[in-house]
């Protein structure tokens, strides 16, 4: 007894899809007892409609045809379960992101076949039970800046054990490098340092510095993370911070904390408020002279300290990896290589080291700096040379620095060359006014470059938008308010964690508005600038929100896992093909057959195709289910070529949704099938699907993944067989996908559809061959 509910989505679907016509076309389908069209299915009346219909028609299967399942599938599952229908007998058909938003003509016909596919799938579904497993409540926080610190402390207060992994020898991140924060001009290290100290003292927080994530295994609720810890060379518990080692150390290198403006020794204290509060040996530059060992009064130094690898087990992870400033190449015309051209972080260090000490800024030749030009949007909003996005905080921090500079050096002339002033935060507009009142010059123009003059100063020429005049200026110091980019290694970390990046290469959120902290991988959250440029205020909000997420996810130490995991039924000769196929180590061989670790298993199905006896299956995701769904999807495609798209749910399906949200169009010929993973596909299934009416098969899988390798093998296998049947092997195609390039997906689909159109529909004889 199947019920079908079609949503108009307030015009978002009904704008191009005639929902009543779809209803009329499907109401005669087998076992369909009820078909309803409604304005907003996800609203209270809509949900009541579903529950009422379940009761009055005695439904035991439900098909909802509305927006993407990625939006509300969980909610609909809960609703039908409440009304007595097994939550796994709900099929969620995507009529919006992958139909009404990407098509004009033909949208209704396609919608009809999508719904028919959903109905056909619904008929094959078994009622399933979720697994409740015990999981690890411990949390891994990656990144020890203000966001990571805040999350760690919040979680510790909630009774969670936290491992905080920080790449540098001390936590504190960028906020520790700042002088004052906008708009209140609070002292940055003063407000951060107590938090840092708390982290250092907290019994629930295990602090690993000089540490980086090397590899991740396991799954949501039970992650096993190998962390590489660089040798500190100094016993942090013994170190008195007397500084004698630093005094005798012969090696000097640029100081990273000071952004290269000053030097430090190879035996050094990262900064006064460092946590762990201890010196460090920079083994990359250490000459091993041993002078420090001798000088240390408590014998805390060990130059033979080795790199260690530890395993951190955690049920969830929080990525808080922050940012770097963009490299010099994007800023060439502003001569960043010159010492009198600095970036904003360097100005923070200049303020802290020089101005607060009562010194005056000087140029290389010893003369006082009397004028400074700020160049905003340096590298930002510049896809031609830098990054396309706005870095959010530069307007505010430039105003802040200008106010501070003038406070210390009232004679200073400060010019801020801006393109647009973005002062959106609370208190920011007053801050901006304060700057204008203090005589800081705002010039509405962006220089194309700066010209170094013979006397060491710089010439800056602009066309002032406000007056239309060309203005020439000579300044002593140029500050580049340069673009923020994800910190080095974010991309690699993301692939190790199995999370996706957005188009701008920051971590992609699950939903930009409604779920900005969750990543596309369950149990992994991302906070702070790791998910996009923002200030301290917003980073802290992210961190506190992530703590709340973690609590919801692992709070009581148990998790409900999806039953879409392999089940073993039938013969087993212990051949081990399945355990060999599993790259996540979720299958081990027992005495009678394979044993599954449901937490590590991500339902990819690689083991299914590997099993020579066909004894493994994923409930509700077998080849037969797929073919039934295909029959429904391919109905009504006699007139034109039909393409079946098998898209992996996590990335490729999301990419298709994103393309839909961006309203990018592509031909209606494709029917996208949502796969937990394309590794579930077998040659037989694909050939039969073609026999049933698919003229082309497009497989979209995550680029450079294990699943993509399997898909590639499958495609070449199928191609060979097609050739043998005298069918063009180009009818099957593998398209690797990554989320940042989702805008290309419509083009891939169009191109492949064109190719298939040129090859034409398969003949009836060929289809018979394929079905055998």
């Amino acid at each position: 007894m199947t019920g079908v509910f079609i949503c108009k989505c307030g015009g978002n679907i009904s704008g191009t899809v005639d929902c009543e016509e779809v209803r009329d076309s499907v109401k005669g389908e087998e076992d369909v007892n009820a078909v309803q069209v409604t304005e907003f299915l996800c609203s209270k009346p809509g949900l009541q409609l579903i529950q009422g219909s379940i009761k009055s028609h005695g439904l035991d299967r439900v098909v909802v045809a509305c927006c993407s399942p990625h939006m509300h599938e969980e909610m609909f599952r809960g609703i039908v379960e409440e009304a007595g229908v097994n939550r796994h007998r709900l099929v969620h058909v995507n009529l919006r992101e992958q139909c009404s938003w990407v098509h004009d003509r033909g949208a209704t016909e396609k919608a009809t076949s999508l719904v028919k596919g959903g109905i056909a799938r619904a008929h094959t579904l078994e009622p399933l039970k979720e697994m409740v497993v015990k999981i690890n409540r411990d949390v891994l926080v990656i990144g020890g800046g203000v966001a990571g610190i805040t999350a760690a402390l919040q979680l510790s207060k909630g009774g969670f054990n936290v491992s905080l992994v920080e790449r540098r020898p001390s936590i504190g991140g960028r906020m520790a490098q700042l002088s004052k924060t906008f708009p209140t001009l609070d002292c940055s290290p003063c407000i951060l340092s107590p938090r840092m100290a708390e982290v250092g003292n907290d019994e629930n927080i295990r602090l690993l510095t000089g540490a980086e994530v090397a590899s991740v295994s396991g799954g949501p609720g039970e992650y096993h993370v190998k962390v590489k810890i660089a040798p500190r060379g100094v016993d942090a518990d013994k170190c008195l911070k007397c500084g004698r080692c630093g005094q005798v150390c012969p090696t000097e290198v640029p100081n990273e904390f000071e952004e290269g403006l000053y030097k430090r020794k190879a035996a050094y204290l990262p900064f006064p408020q460092a946590v762990p509060s201890s010196y460090v040996i920079d083994f990359e530059h250490c000459k091993r002279c041993g002078a420090c060992v001798e000088a240390c009064p408590v014998g805390a130094i060990d130059l033979d300290d080795q790199e260690k690898t530890v395993t951190v087990d955690a049920g969830s992870m929080i990525v808080a990896t922050g940012f770097d400033l963009i490299g010099d190449e994007a800023l060439r015309t502003y001569h960043p290589e010159m010492s009198s051209v600095v970036n904003a972080l360097q100005v923070e260090r200049l303020i802290e080291n020089e101005l607060t000490e009562g010194k005056v800024l000087t140029r290389r030749n010893g003369e006082r700096v009397k004028s400074i030009a700020y160049i905003l949007c340096a590298g930002s909003r510049d896809p031609h040379h830098g990054v396309g996005y706005c870095s959010s905080v530069c307007c505010a921090y430039s105003v802040k620095q200008a106010i501070l500079l003038r406070k210390f050096l009232p004679f200073l002339k400060v010019y801020i060359y801006y393109t647009d002033m973005r002062m959106t935060g609370r208190g920011f507009e007053d801050f901006y006014m304060e700057a204008r009142e203090k005589g800081i010059q705002f010039i509405h123009a962006k220089p194309g470059g700066v010209t170094p003059l013979d006397d060491g100063r710089f010439e800056v020429i602009v066309e002032d938008q406000d007056t239309g005049l060309m203005l020439r200026n000579q300044v002593d110091l140029v500050v580049l308010s340069s673009a923020m980019v994800p910190s080095a290694g974010t991309g690699e970390l993301a692939s190790r964690l199995g999370i996706a990046l957005g188009e701008d290469l920051f971590v992609a959120p699950k939903h930009v508005k409604l779920d900005p902290i969750s990543t596309l991988r369950e149990g992994v959250f991302a906070v702070g600038v790791a998910t996009g440029t923002k200030d301290i205020h917003d980073s802290v909000i992210d961190a506190r929100a992530a703590a709340s997420h973690v609590y919801n996810f692992v709070g009581d130490g148990t998790a409900r896992l999806s039953p879409a995991k392999p089940v073993h039924e039938g013969e087993c000769d212990l051949c081990g093909a399945c355990t060999g196929a599993c790259v996540r180590g979720a299958l081990t061989m027992g005495g009678k057959g394979p044993i599954l670790d449901p937490v590590s298993c991500n339902g990819c199905g690689a083991c299914i195709s590997a099993c020579t006896k066909g004894s493994l299956r994923i409930p509700n995701n077998s080849g037969d289910t797929l073919l039934e769904e295909a029959k429904g999807l391919l109905s009504g495609t006699e007139g034109d070529v039909a393409v079946l798209g098998f898209f992996d749910d996590n990335i490729s399906y999301t990419a298709a949704d994103n393309a839909g949200t961006a309203r990018l169009h592509y031909p209606t010929n494709i029917r996208i099938v949502r796969m937990p993973s394309t590794a579930l596909l077998s040659k037989e299934t694909i050939l039969k699907a073609m026999g049933l009416g698919a003229d082309g098969v497009l497989i979209c899988e995550v680029e450079e993944s294990h699943e993509a390798e399997l898909a590639a093998k499958l495609v070449s296998d199928v191609s060979e067989t097609l050739k043998g049947f005298g069918i063009e092997p180009e009818r099957i195609h593998l398209q690797p996908m990554v989320l940042p390039i989702f805008k290309m997906l419509p083009k891939f689909v169009s191109d492949f559809t064109e190719q298939v159109k040129k090859m034409g529909k398969l003949t009836a004889e060929k289809r018979k061959l394929l079905l055998k």
Partner: protein
């Protein structure tokens, strides 16, 4: 009555705008957010206050055809391409200028000297004619004579439409 110094936006010429946006050279014009890097880098603006590529981009984007064609400024770009290199949004102002010039020329608006130059090229197949005197001097310098008149140039320039 004093002339109205306010430009009414209903004056915006939508046909002009549509034709402009359809051209390859102006394909990224809408991305311009008026930062002014183009004009800041412009060698012509350094010596001539009336020429501002930024201003022309904005007027063109708004479809204010009359203002764009006023005072011949679109003909002042020396095509040095510095702005093209530096524009953060890859608007390619010189290419937009070329599109605007082509559109103006089609409507019969082009600087007189340029039209004269075109006539010369149409006549000679080159910017400067080559006659016996030229070839004599060339011979004196050991340079090969250039005998042929490139008729194909004339024929191309004479094609209608």
């Amino acid at each position: 009555m004093a002339p109205d110094s306010i430009v009414d936006l209903s004056e915006a010429d939508t046909r002009f705008l549509r034709r402009l946006e359809a051209e390859l050279g102006a394909s990224d014009l809408s991305k311009c957010f008026q930062c002014g890097v183009c004009t800041a880098s412009c060698p012509v603006r350094e010596v001539e206050a009336s020429f501002s590529p930024r201003r022309i981009m904005k007027l063109a984007k708004m479809g204010l055809k009359k203002q764009v064609y006023a005072s011949d400024t679109i003909w002042l770009c020396s095509m040095c391409f510095m702005c093209l290199e530096r524009c953060p949004q890859d608007v390619r102002p010189p290419e937009v200028m070329t599109v605007l010039r082509n559109m103006a020329a089609k409507e019969g608006v082009a600087p007189a000297n340029l039209s004269k130059l075109l006539d010369i090229i149409k006549q000679n197949g080159r910017v400067y004619s080559i006659d016996d005197f030229t070839n004599e001097e060339r011979g004196d310098r050991g340079l090969p004579a250039i005998e042929t008149e490139p008729g194909f140039i004339k024929r191309i320039l004479e094609v209608k439409g």
